[in-house]
């Protein structure tokens, strides 16, 4: 298959980056001096048997390089230790948290991309006009306001009308029909997702606009125009697809920003996701949770980056050579 080597190369890169992240994690939590306090076996109120079991499981009494290999093996089995604060396996807790984070982040990011693309294309089309200036400056400002401030502002404005925190109404019991739960969660998701949309869309607007302007200057756009095609059609059929290619790259690079933003948002809205879990872990000195959270978030971003590489591969036939 043509271009298979591109896919393999990017896949290999993703794998290596995962290793780098794991190694950084190991280094920070196990190798640095003063990490005795982060030792995985120091679960508070743990029985001596548990402590011993953990010590054996993670090889905490062995030399560092051996610990590293054992760590890798454990990770492969999804074993990230026991949470200091909740006395439960870290992976179970974090997977549950991740399930809460994903819908909110997905909705917010997709909304941001949609708004960004639409405003970017319109701005490029009407370059230099008042709507262009307004839209561009709005994008800059939205991007410049700190994510947490945007969240707080939305809270202030909508505190009465929309749920101010949590993912669901604690008073809704399990007996309620599923769609009602869905509606409830959906309602709670509005503000956090809206905050994520507001904080992320600005960069997309600017890049789409710039990329579209660049594309509109390409020779093949002039060719399309020369064919007698009306402007709308030229944009839709020829310019759009080409203009979006750099955007795919940018969205992928920006995932770190999305993750950071989601973290802050979960804290503000008490959204029970992985971000809030990490925040709590800081406060509770729950180091296994902190490690696990970092690893899961990082791997998620790496995987998404790889997915973006694949998407780019699909969209741009030139890469396939």
């Amino acid at each position: 298959m043509r271009g298979a080597d591109y896919v393999i190369k990017r896949g290999f890169f993703a794998l290596v980056t995962v290793f780098v992240a794991i190694t950084i994690n190991f280094f920070l939590f196990r190798v640095l001096p003063g990490t005795a306090v982060t030792d995985l076996s120091r679960v508070p109120h743990a029985s001596p048997q548990l402590k011993h079991a953990l010590t054996v499981e993670f090889g905490l009494d062995k030399p560092k390089w051996e610990q590293y290999l054992i760590y890798l093996k454990n990770l492969l089995h999804g074993n990230m230790g026991i949470s200091f604060a909740y006395q439960q396996p870290v992976s179970h807790l974090l997977i549950q948290d991740l399930k809460n984070t994903l819908p909110m982040v997905t909705v917010g990011t997709v909304a941001a991309i949609a708004v960004g693309v639409v405003t970017g294309v319109l701005s490029a089309w009407r370059r230099g006009s008042v709507p262009d200036h307004v839209s561009t400056n709005a994008a800059i400002f939205a991007y410049a306001f700190p994510t947490q401030w945007l969240g707080l502002m939305l809270l202030i404005i909508f505190a009465g009308t929309l749920p101010a925190g949590g993912m669901s109404n604690p008073f809704l019991f399990g007996a309620e029909p599923f769609w009602q739960h869905l509606a409830d969660v959906g309602q709670h998701m509005i503000l956090p997702a809206a905050t994520l949309m507001l904080t992320a869309y600005g960069s997309y607007t600017l890049v789409v606009r710039s990329s579209m302007l660049e594309t509109l200057g390409e020779d093949y756009v002039l060719t399309a125009r020369a064919k007698g095609l009306p402007p709308r059609r030229v944009v839709r059929r020829h310019a759009f697809r080409n203009a979006l290619l750099p955007v795919v790259t940018l969205v992928a690079l920006d995932l770190g920003y999305i993750v950071g933003g989601a973290l802050l948002i979960e804290v503000i809205f008490s959204w029970p996701g992985i971000g809030l879990a990490m925040y709590d872990a800081i406060g509770q000195r729950d180091y296994p949770m902190l490690q696990g959270g970092f690893l899961i978030l990082t791997v998620a971003v790496i995987v998404l980056n790889f997915a973006a590489d694949l998407l780019y591969f699909r969209l741009d036939p030139r890469i396939r050579e």
Partner: protein
Amino acid sequence: MSLLEVSGLHVWFEPPHAAEVHAVQGVSFALDPGERFGLVGESGCGKTTTILALMGLLPPNASVAGEVLINGQNILAGGEDSVQAYRWKDVAMVFQGAMNALNPVKKVGWQIAEPMAFHDIAQGAAARKRAGELLELVGIPAAAGERYPHEFSGGMRQRAAIAMALACEPKILLADEPTTALDVMVQAQILELLTGLSRNLGLALVLVTHDLPVVAQVCERAAVMYAGEIVEAGPTEMLYHAPRHPYTRLLFAATPDLYGQDAVISIPGTPPRLDSELPGCPFRARCDVPLERCAGEHPELRLVGPGHQAACHRNELVEAS
């Protein structure tokens, strides 16, 4: 009535932060069906702008005056919107450097078929079949239509661009430097192709180039442009062997001999700026035989032989004597 008649064409550009540039200054010429006409000059003399203006393919900071008549109809009369109707059906263009004139993410066959579908000449499978036939006509196997532009060599891309230009059976083909950036063997083939198409299909051809041997090979008539104006026009033979304008004479003399036997004479100096109106002959500063009146009086195009015009004060001396 000629097939194509350009009358008093002027084009101005308004660059940002700079004075207006008068890029084309009163160009007029006419073309009959099946005629091959060359437009020659140095870079920046306005020849590309002229033919772009013939199809209204100008940027927003341009303004145009004059008429472009196709079968008696002034296609520029209604601005961009009205000229759209004539594009590709009556007059089509092959751009400089077809490398970028083809959309990189669309298959070549699709790009050829697209205007057919839009202008209701053929749809779907019929259009694809016709695209294949056009590719064969220009010397490319029909199956290549399933490939992307980056898979074609430079010469093939140029041929594909020509095939694409013929998609809606235009009566006039404009070719802007069709052989620049191609190697010599391929150049010859492309020129042969263009000549053949003109003869067999009765296609009128306007060939823009700075390469004089090209004009000599393909075109029966030609016009020499300098600083936005036509300074001499007539049968190519006459321009070559009996030029009546110093610029034409120097230009043809400056062409390196294919066998490298004659010395290369280059014309010292540079063309004048086009952002201010200068009195007198635009070529005066570089002319080797200027007269006194050349400094203050602008020479007009006058007949100096059958079908042969030149804009030089010296011709009056010849007439007088």
